[in-house]
């Protein structure tokens, strides 16, 4: 696949990569960025980087999803850094109401009603930043502990602590209702 990207039918390979990762990366970037427009630009830049580096990527023999997330993260961090420098007006961010993309709830459920589901989501949103990130990387992005820890540049042990905190808050929310 990466070989194809570098030497073979690059466009077709890139298209597959793009369609597979676009939504995942949009969601991922939304953990850091509130404006949908900015997120689109960052995701686009991420694919641009992958495209530009495709020949170098081939030398790596292979590529990991965590690698793609790492590119996305670095692009995001650079964006935020630049934004801080330019004293970006934060107000425009708040305006985007359809973003970040909220996970779908399943309202018809005997175990958890719609209301409780929303409370659980709120409990996750109210977690400290790192714990929230850890939880979302594992649950929403479906990453393994090791991959998520790598992206966050923390140890798996620390990631476990973040996950435990998330679970604790969820249990507390369930107990209160």
């Amino acid at each position: 696949m990466i070989h194809e990207l570098a030497y073979g039918d690059s466009e077709a390979a890139m298209k597959m990569l793009y369609n597979h990762f676009y939504s995942k990366l949009m969601l991922f970037v939304s953990y850091f960025i509130k404006s949908k427009h900015d997120a689109e630009e960052i995701v686009s830049d991420t694919f641009y980087t992958i495209w530009e580096q495709r020949l170098k990527l081939a030398n790596l023999e292979c590529i990991a999803s965590s690698y793609i997330y790492t590119i996305a993260k670095n692009t995001t961090l650079l964006f935020l850094k630049r934004q801080r420098k330019e004293k970006y007006d934060m107000e425009t961010d708040v305006a985007a109401s359809d973003f970040p993309a909220q996970p779908d709830n399943s309202p018809e459920d005997e175990l958890i009603g719609k209301e409780l589901m929303e409370k659980l989501h709120a409990a996750i949103e109210n977690l400290p930043e790192k714990s929230r990130m850890a939880f979302k990387l594992v649950r929403e992005q479906g990453l393994k502990y090791k991959e998520a820890a790598e992206i966050m540049e923390i140890s798996v042990k620390t990631l476990e602590a973040h996950m435990a905190l998330a679970t604790k808050r969820l249990l507390k929310t369930l107990d209160e209702n």
Binding site: M1, I63, R139, M163, T167, L174
Partner: protein, 323 residues
């Protein structure tokens, strides 16, 4: 509430739980009915679908932008960012030590879930790989192990070269697939597999538990300290009693060979040191025994062998010629 139950529940939800976790979790579940309800609720929350929309910017539009010579009026700034991103990412990837993955089997992702294959290549020394069910694999130098992202449903790995397996007991078989169509099936156990000489000969040594070797119609069960040597070309096998430790010592960075023919040893050295060895045909079937350590380089090993076996060798680029 046990201290670490929160971590265990988290691992369970994330599909990272070990057998030990499952046992502790079931203790906790049996303690109180409310615990059972809570876990069900958590699981329901965890599994609620995450909405993923189709890309808002279709690929064609994106590609037009990057592939046209006037794309985004190529800003010098952008190029700079890209290259520094590359530096950071490379570092992250290299830090992995093991080379990872590959993406394949794409097609229509609506109908076919994406299958990702994770490959670990051991380039030097001995590498430890922890599988999603916490089973541990030690890969010997030159070894390669591959598993798919559906591993949790089908515990199956593909092996090239040599590996030592410490397999967790869990429901369902654990299968090692070998290049030659042979496979090894186990429940939970410790064993060593060598696919020697480019998969010509498969040597399976059992340390603990039991394993079943399967090739076509043939099925062979092993008990601890037994070794099965399967000759792929002749479809012939032999079983012998061994000291299993001797065959697993390499994971402590010691390589031992006992009565292996020179041709097979050279295949091993080729794999481990990434060279091509041209062997004098007269030496092919000479049996050799001995051991060396990981820190030894190939020159040292060949020089020791040269004295004993009276051969001459020379290096020509990436080739080693043994006369």
């Amino acid at each position: 509430m046990p201290e670490n139950i929160l971590e265990i529940i988290s691992r369970y939800l994330a599909g990272e739980a070990s057998l030990d976790d499952i046992m502790q979790l079931s203790d906790w579940l049996n303690r109180d009915e409310i615990n059972r309800l809570r876990l069900k609720q958590l699981k329901r929350f965890w599994e609620a679908p995450v909405r993923m929309k189709e890309p808002d910017v279709p690929f064609e539009k994106f590609f037009e932008r990057i592939d046209s010579p006037h794309r985004m009026a190529p800003k010098a700034k952008k190029r700079h960012i890209s290259s520094s991103v590359w530096m950071i990412s490379t570092a992250a990837a290299v830090a992995l030590l093991l080379m990872i993955i590959s993406v394949s089997v794409f097609f229509n992702r609506e109908e076919h879930p994406l299958i990702e294959y994770y490959s670990y290549n051991c380039i030097s020394g001995v590498e430890q790989v922890v599988l999603p069910d916490s089973s541990i694999v030690y890969l010997n130098r030159g070894g390669k192990i591959t598993y798919a992202n559906n591993y949790k449903e089908v515990r199956s790995v593909t092996l090239e070269g040599e590996a030592y397996f410490d397999v967790m007991k869990a429901s369902g078989l654990f299968t090692v697939r070998l290049g030659s169509g042979a496979s090894i099936e186990v429940l939970g156990t410790r064993f060593n597999v060598q696919a020697l000489g480019g998969d010509r000969r498969i040597v399976t040594t059992l340390e603990e538990g039991s394993v079943r070797f399967v090739k076509g119609e043939q099925q062979i069960m092993l008990v601890p300290d037994q070794q099965l040597i399967y000759d792929v070309n002749k479809a012939d096998y032999s079983i012998r009693q061994v000291d299993a430790d001797m065959y697993t010592a390499w994971k402590e960075y010691i390589y031992r060979y006992n009565g292996i023919i020179m041709q097979d040893l050279c295949k091993e050295l080729e794999r481990m040191y990434r060279v091509e060895i041209i062997l004098n045909p007269g030496l092919k079937n000479v049996k050799v025994s001995g051991s060396f350590e990981y820190r030894h380089d190939l020159d040292q090993i060949l020089n020791v062998m040269k004295k004993r076996m009276r051969f001459e060798w020379k290096r020509e680029g990436n080739k080693i010629v043994i006369q």
